[in-house]
Symmetry: D3
Subunit: 123 residues, 6 copies
């Protein structure tokens, strides 16, 4: 399932070169879910529900400046940090007994750079 957010941010460390300036990014987000076998409807997960939960996680990031977002206050808001954040937030929203083994969040920040994280889950 795919979604995206368009955020502003700056990465305040000389390591990041010109990305220390206030700039922005479209993060194209891909979420995927793993399951041992399929559920009683022959699916890994209700895709409508998954889409709704991902939207719930992304809503507070849409059209925002992450430099002013409390959850990124003491972090560099790199694409890697953002995918970890989205994965953890999404995992917390999954209903009891979801039956999933893992979820993966991938974000493409530009046509040549992507980051992803796979988060194992307790079914």
């Amino acid at each position: 399932m795919d979604d995206h957010v368009m955020i502003a941010h700056s990465l305040q460390h000389e390591f990041f070169g010109p990305a220390q300036q206030l700039h922005g990014a479209t993060l194209a987000i891909h979420a995927s879910f793993e399951r041992e076998g399929l559920d009683e409807h022959g699916v890994v997960m209700d895709i409508g529900e998954a889409s709704r939960l991902l939207g719930q996680v992304l809503e507070p990031l849409r059209f925002k400046n992450l430099d002013e977002h409390p959850d990124f206050a003491e972090k560099f808001s790199t694409t890697e940090v953002i995918v970890h954040y989205v994965a953890l937030q999404l995992a917390e929203l999954l209903p009891e007994g979801h039956g999933l083994k893992a979820l993966t969040i991938e974000a493409e920040e530009n046509p040549t750079a992507r980051a992803s994280v796979r988060l194992p889950l307790t079914p």
Copy 2:
């Protein structure tokens, strides 16, 4: 030929809804050139030169906040406005006797939104 810029901006008019907030975008830029027939090397244009010129136009936009860029001071820096700007800047850099009929600049600002402009040229 492809390049991209990662910019921050805000669109200050109620028409733009949540995009009035300071946010950002990756603009994946595609430039294409048209020519009546081909030149003496069997190409439309020297692709290395085209790539260098496009980079020269995009350089002042990379990792910038367009709200503070003088060329966008009295405009809404929408994707449409940006592609027009890039096309006009690029046209001015083309060498005398370029032989081209038109250039097109397309920008994808997110996986579902693109804008492009085709600028006729005097060969």
Copy 3:
């Protein structure tokens, strides 16, 4: 702006070979709009409005069997026919004074087959 529909249909003429059988297709729809210059907000069209109108046109096709859809009763519901249909329906929904010069509807029916139509409009 992108959307998609997932339809069943059959193409009842020997010309279509195995596609005479009842089968189906995902049609990934891309709509694009042309304008001479930009409007007062620096855009070709309100993208939210465009997306809503396209959805309005596609809604009656979602998860349907086109063999039973009255608008395709005496036609072959090829991808070409469908893009013409969508373009004409969408043109009728455009508000007075839309200022557009043309709209294009493209549909990809499988990874190697696409059809599109460009419909000139009276601004």
Copy 4:
């Protein structure tokens, strides 16, 4: 290696909402194969052979209504169920001594929904 099928089906359970209606889908299929090291020709597998075998599995699905296909008679023919089916059928066709460790079948049913399964093999 890529192929695709265009099928009709319905998903007969209220869980599936509007997809309970007879509709259809293009399933863009991607098959990939894993091997510990490479074979004597420096490849994972003869790509022509792999393509032929995948085609053999998909042939009975092309331009079909899965609601009438005996292999999906007592199942929901979701994309997940179809990729499992294709993976198992393909595994059975692999020649003795294929040397492969696993195969993965992925299907994209629309631009925002994909399912895949990885099937471990006995080399």
Copy 5:
């Protein structure tokens, strides 16, 4: 309709820099056809026929070294030259009364370089 060829060649003029060396390219070819209105089957062209004709044009180029191909003997076999060549060859194969207005051949030679030509036809 899509196809591809994998060719070797060299571009023998200092203009081409390192591409003067014998190297190669995958050319991903996209052919598209235009028609005023649709034919009696509601299509622009019989897609199976179009695919067969494109294959007939590309066959003599598959797995070849264009430096030794007579049709490119006194030319630079740039992507632009190749798309013109394919377009002209394909136009000659079209049956009498094809009813088409134009055909376009596009080739992508690498992820950032493409060339295309649109050839008007006499219906």
Copy 6:
């Protein structure tokens, strides 16, 4: 991180059919890196450094005929062999204390054929 090379080669064994002839390929290369957690800058790896190292590995392959390249002298230069080669070369260039768990090199040689290898690393 993405890059590409355009090479000529031939695969000298009847197993490869027409690919025994001297032909060529564009190899679109995707490199990805895995790490347990993130480094002190919140990234998996310095992307500029990664890009520079990949370029260093690919430089000797750009616009070359692999049939004359000493590193492929006694091998079939299949896409699989090339991705293994690139992965091993890249691993050797990684700085001491890189902290990475694995790297993956994927190459797409044409729109329907890809090969990849995942190389575990000692952090």
